[in-house]
């Protein structure tokens, strides 16, 4: 289990290697990579700035990572989130989950992303071709995505 907030890029292959090196108890590894898209609401964007809340960010990422390990039998996990100035096509976020079974790895990775999107204190600002920068608005779909895990809690799963 580890989390990292960084201005630098990450190397997905190298991170999987670190997580799985020398281990034979892992059967399934899922990675999710989020990247900067070159368009927002149909308009081109030239860059994205990511602000965060140092200290709270790491605490929130650790908290949701623990929550994932409490819900699924995971052999390992990693959350890396970049901050600062990014260009279209660049990496933003990496989540890796490793488990003996594929369903646990898939579900835990989706869970981590859903929680991260609604509770980790990051904010995106996009700059368009005209140089105007606008804060990205939160999507209702992200709240909806998170709610499905809440239902599971209520069901005692």
């Amino acid at each position: 289990m580890s989390v990292r907030v960084t201005t630098g890029d990450f190397d997905i292959g190298a991170e999987i290697e670190i997580l799985t090196a020398g281990r034979t108890d892992i059967g399934a590894i899922v990675t999710f990579t989020g990247t900067v898209r070159g368009e927002a609401k149909g308009k081109p964007i030239v860059s994205m700035a990511l602000e965060h809340y140092p200290g709270m960010t790491e605490a929130e990422l650790v908290r949701i990572e623990h929550e994932a390990h409490a819900r699924w039998p995971l052999q390992g996990s990693l959350i890396v989130h970049r901050v600062g100035e990014l260009k279209p096509g660049e990496n933003i976020v990496l989540v890796i989950t490793a488990s003996a079974h594929r369903q646990a790895a898939f579900e835990a990775a989706a869970f981590l992303m859903d929680y991260l999107k609604t509770s980790a204190p990051f904010w995106k600002k996009e700059t368009g071709l005209d140089g105007r920068a606008e804060w990205v608005e939160a999507r209702d779909a992200d709240d909806t995505a998170m709610v499905r895990w809440r239902r599971d809690e209520n069901a005692g799963q």
Binding site: Y53, M56, V93, A120, P121, F122, A138
Partner: protein, 92 residues
């Protein structure tokens, strides 16, 4: 920002457009003792000047963290060292 007879000093932090509207990222303020909850604190901040009034105009979209933990408007602020205000998060 005014300080009454009975006040407590607390660090306020602002992020994203809340920070931009208020014009600073952080400040130490004296909160009047009758301000007990996070919701009341937002209400009080709205009265602290036009930049605060604008930043907190849509109070229902402002998220609050008390000592770096998400809290609801009803949360008591007593004992908090650091209170942060920000829009809904958009990372990932």
């Amino acid at each position: 920002m005014g300080a009454g007879d009975e006040t407590k000093m607390v660090t306020l932090r602002y992020f994203a457009w809340v920070r931009e509207k208020i014009g600073r990222a952080e400040e130490r303020v004296a909160v009047p003792s009758e301000v007990r909850t996070v919701g009341e604190l937002v209400g009080w901040l709205q009265t602290c000047g036009p930049e605060y009034a604008e930043a907190f105009a849509r109070a229902q979209v402002i998220r609050v963290a008390l000592d770096q933990k998400h809290v609801k408007p009803a949360a008591l602020i007593a004992g908090a060292r650091e209170i942060a205000f920000f829009p809904p998060v958009t990372g990932g």
